[in-house]
Symmetry: C2
Subunit: 273 residues, 2 copies
């Protein structure tokens, strides 16, 4: 399907565009089409301001007028995209959310190769290995944005960053942050081909995370939610740091661990300059 600049109203659940958009909630359809969905005026505005205009804009016929929505419509029209008006029920059907936002958009997926990353453009990068929860993935993107990171690198078999859940949890950071996907044996040669310190939260042979000798660009590696990092991945790290664990548990939620570490690195690097 190739969107062309048009404006129309859809009233039927069985409409082919509705079916097409809805199919993008499933990974196999996203991958085949190279498209994904995002919802909400704020998120779509973040996208537009970062240069991502939806190819299809879907608006609820019960929406309130808003200057940002008018700007969004104008941008879609200027880019030759499609603008669709429909009912909240059909929006619910598309996004799977029972209280749908007034707008949703279909975007082209981005290049997620390592080679598009400008490693020296940011002091911090998050790296997640086999991160399986799309909510954790989106939360890590949101943290990347907050600490001024360059982006999130997804190692081995992670959740899909373009899933509706990940995009939602990212609160728009899916559009502001670079995202790369790679196998570990692709990532390590890429990393070692330039500057960059690889840091992991670890219990093995680690120094306290506070005051550790962080260096920019600092790549913060977080492991799988239930298994943590493989031992040889930890061994590859330039620095292994440990966070206090005062209770019975020996680990934090993956997105939490990444954020606590990222804020420490941010503070450490800011004191160096």
């Amino acid at each position: 399907m190739s969107p062309s600049s048009e404006r129309r109203t859809i009233t039927g659940f069985s409409n082919s565009t509705v079916k097409y958009l809805r199919s993008l909630r499933e990974k196999k359809h996203r991958k085949r089409e190279g498209k994904f969905l995002a919802e909400g005026l704020r998120l779509l505005t973040d996208a537009r301001e970062c240069g991502h205009v939806p190819e299809i804009l879907v608006m609820s016929d019960t929406r309130d007028p808003h200057p940002l929505l008018a700007e969004l419509e104008a941008a879609v029209a200027a880019a030759g995209g499609a603008i669709i008006e429909t009912s909240p029920d059909i929006l619910t059907k598309i996004t799977g959310k029972s209280n749908p936002q007034a707008v949703a958009g279909m975007f082209a997926e981005f290049d997620t190769s390592l080679t598009q990353l400008a490693r020296s453009a940011a002091p911090i990068w998050l790296v997640a290995q086999e991160l399986r929860d799309p909510g954790n993935l989106g939360t890590m993107l949101r943290t990347c944005d907050a600490v001024g990171a360059g982006g999130l690198i997804l190692i081995d078999d992670c959740a899909d960053p373009f899933s509706v859940e990940a995009v939602r949890a990212s609160m728009g950071a899916v559009f502001t942050q670079a995202i790369a996907q790679a196998r570990w044996d692709e990532f390590v040669p890429w990393l070692r081909g330039g500057e960059g310190q690889l840091v992991a939260a670890s219990l093995r042979d680690a120094v306290p995370y506070r005051g550790a000798p962080y260096q920019a660009p600092c790549f913060i590696l977080v492991g799988n939610e239930s298994q943590g990092l493989p031992e040889d991945y930890e061994a590859e790290c330039d620095l292994r740091v440990t966070m206090p664990m005062k209770g019975r548990a020996d680990s934090l939620n993956a997105a939490v661990a990444g954020a606590v570490l990222a804020y420490e690195v941010l503070d450490s690097l800011s004191q160096q300059t």
Copy 2:
């Protein structure tokens, strides 16, 4: 239903105990019965070691033998609880998880009144206002455990800490941490009736979160996922702190914000002693 010390095998989906246990996935049934479900040998072992023995223990007939499981069985039998053996399919039906753990347990809900909290027993407490996501709630309990907090205080209309999702995300901390539920107008008089510093992450009239004058017991207040804290709640705080936001977003995920702040408070208090 009153569990008595017994051991039996259940093979049918329509068994009344299966239906009863399954009903506890719904909040209204949990509240009526005062019971909740938890899964996994590690989590149930944490519970046992913290003095919480399930009233009903459900074990998969495909489980592997394990010394911790034997200890758990013995504890349930000694406490007069019921031990049930069943198929993985029926365990899936009970817990709603497609790859079920080999064991699950039914526990009595705890006292969640403010009056059971020993505020001076711990240097840090987390306080969440209208936290709606059970995953965030469980993650905050897990963070409480990690920083050696006393527990989590849930203000106004929060997700249920005894939901399957919250218990799962807590990784057992639901059993190690005190949990209280209160309205804001109950919480403030309770807080002001003793020692305690109320701290919020805020953009209004705030000082940098690093190096702020934290005092134990420090109550860290985190607001609702989409609305943040009401202005008058922030005004009640003894200290308002702000975290760097380098990107487009003006907030972090609620569980992430609580954790970054809790680790800073932990570090600050440890330097004071």
